[in-house]
Symmetry: C2
Subunit: 194 residues, 2 copies
């Protein structure tokens, strides 16, 4: 009996996504062909099309998968009571989640320009949902008088840019442990909003 | 009399750099050919090679030109006396300089991976020189007891990531003026280090 499309996809799908992620991160989406991705996986180019209709779908799956993972991991976290504790949890979570997936983070920033307008909108909405979680913490803290933030939206974007920036320089085994880095950033974030 | 190479370069050079910058920012370095750049400028592909030996040199010129401009503009600024005033000047300068050149900033982050090792080292050293200016301010402030910073190197990288992040969302004519944005960021930076 021939392999079914289902069982084929189950095995090949993750390998295709991994190969596409690696190649997009290394060379950029526009420079990578479906043929190169197939070669990296070790299948015929035609076999790729059993799994994904085109390169755009592959890019979108990677970026959407990254955002889905982020929101799922965030939803699974315990939520402390106070705005300050919630902000610390958010800060440490954001750094750890992003350090664990450097290539996905890299293409999520680099390749937004290569999404179709429709796909871009979906990713932007997911980002908005994530940013809202941080903005809610800042707003609650401001209402309770523990945070002093002129503009919760801009402070949200500033904190996220600062925390994601860790990915550009942190190497495990370097001068500081991840825990120490998280603590230094948490100290800056806490002071910036109080 | 035939045009000299000198006069030809004087006119065509800036147009080639502009076209390369625009195309690299839009499609990514790896996806853009010398032929496309020539077409965008409106010259034969061969004419490009009078100006630049190859695409790598063109990318390097753009990234190095951006860093040279940054360091020159920074050096031309008045230097206030106190660490706090110097930090405010740095903060406002960094935001303004980067908002003025979105494409150069974009490729300076995106295309580092496409530089040769030798070219990468030169750009990294220039970045290091710029980062040192901020770190010196933080160190002086700490020595004078006005800043409380656990790690001046990491705080430098955190502040630069936060400030450069403005480029990802700011649009002139939006809800806030550049001056208002600078003031909000300066407030966060000031609080984060004191």
């Amino acid at each position: 009996m021939a392999r079914t499309a289902g069982s084929h996809s189950d095995i090949t799908g993750p390998r295709i996504r991994e190969a596409a992620l690696r190649l997009f991160a290394q060379h950029g989406y526009a420079a990578v062909s479906m043929r190169q991705i197939a070669k990296e996986v070790g299948v015929q180019a035609g076999a790729l099309y059993n799994y994904t209709p085109d390169k755009q779908s592959l890019l979108f799956d990677l970026l959407k998968g990254h955002m889905d993972d982020l929101l799922t991991a965030r939803a699974a976290l315990k939520k402390p009571d106070t705005p300050e504790d919630r902000l610390e949890t958010f800060t440490r979570f954001h750094i750890g989640f992003h350090l664990d997936r450097p290539e996905a983070v890299f293409i999520s920033y680099m390749e937004l320009r290569n999404l179709t307008a429709e796909n871009f909108k979906i990713i932007e909405d997911l980002r908005g949902a994530y940013e809202s979680e941080l903005e809610d913490i800042l707003r609650d803290g401001r209402e309770q008088g523990v945070f002093h933030v002129a503009d919760t939206k801009i402070t949200t974007l500033a904190i996220i840019a600062m925390l994601t920036g860790v990915n550009t320089w942190y190497r495990s085994g370097g001068r500081l442990s991840q825990e120490e880095v998280e603590t230094i950033y948490w100290d800056m974030v806490r002071k910036a909003v109080t």
